[in-house]
Amino acid sequence: MTRSFQTDVLPLKNELFRLALRITMNRAEAEDVVQETMIKVWNRRDEWEQIESMEAFCLTICRNLSLDKLRRMDNQTETLEAGHDPWDSSYGSNPEEQVMQRDRVMIVRQLICQLPEKQRSCMQLRDIEGKTYKDIANIMNISEEQVKINIFRARQTIKEQFRKTEKYERT
């Protein structure tokens, strides 16, 4: 099986972007990450034939580069809120404000942004990209059990927030 950049790497661009965006929460940084990922993957093309899954390989590099970016962003005292997309700018963190928005998709996005990186990356890879626990474990370099724990915590946080929001809506 001969792999090529155009058929095996380039088509992954948007999946890589989505993961990078989930981690960095900044569109411009996410696009940079995808670019850097692809060049890094290209520079390691002598390893391609030994790789079982090109997708997992690329996602792993993407995540690591995203984490590097995130660390640098934090070091520049850029808070997590800064540099976010306009649609994420409503950061009403108390449930009453959220209820007034009455837009749970925004709430979900906001909730996820506030989760620790491992939880939101696991959730991204499972709920949005539809990856198996095994694949996610491989990409994140953690055990399958840890993947499940991260997903469990993320989903519980969201469920709990919905419960609170509903409670406020009823009063």
């Binding site: 380039l10 569109r27 995808v34 670019q35 060049i39």
Partner: protein
């Protein structure tokens, strides 16, 4: 509509016990218009997942940029073509020419034992310049695409034994 099944799936979803297929079922269910009141609050969680999946902002511009960067970093590796692949068109052309020459030769040859002995003389005869009259009509037509007046090109004589 059996909401019991969906309720069970939801419970398992939050316990991280659902399969990928079951998670797809939940997303499909929650993209419907009519959702029972008790489950309404989960609608946007699953709608969000479907929306996010469609996030695909990197288009052709991105492709062009990356491909040019990759080309700068290293020369683009040319697709390897084997020697036999390279020569195949030539082989084919040579085969066609050989067929025509053979047919032409066969048409000229008296069908008796004597043609065996003509050997090199015969071959030499057919290697003559194309613009001489010692060329059969078939050969002459094959040399150029112009139809040839047979009378004018029939050789005066064939090599004799």
């Amino acid at each position: 509509m059996d909401y019991k099944y969906i309720e069970q799936l939801l419970e398992r979803y939050f316990a991280v016990e659902t399969t990928l297929e079951e998670e797809e079922i939940l997303r499909a269910f929650f993209s419907q218009k009519e959702i029972p009141a008790g489950m309404e609050k989960y609608r946007d969680l699953f709608a969000f997942q479907l929306t996010e999946r469609q996030e695909a902002p990197l288009g052709d511009d991105f492709d062009r940029r990356i491909l040019s960067m990759v080309a700068d970093v290293q020369p683009v590796k040319a697709r390897e073509i084997s020697l036999s692949q390279r020569l195949m068109p030539l082989f084919k052309a040579a085969a066609v020419v050989a067929i025509f020459l053979t047919l032409g030769q066969a048409a000229q040859t008296p069908w008796d034992a004597s043609w065996n002995n003509q050997g090199t003389e015969y071959v030499v005869g057919y290697q003559q310049q194309v613009d001489t009259i010692n060329v059969t009509p078939i050969q002459a037509e094959n040399i150029s695409d112009i139809p040839v007046d047979s009378v004018k090109v029939i050789p005066e004589s064939l090599p004799k034994d």
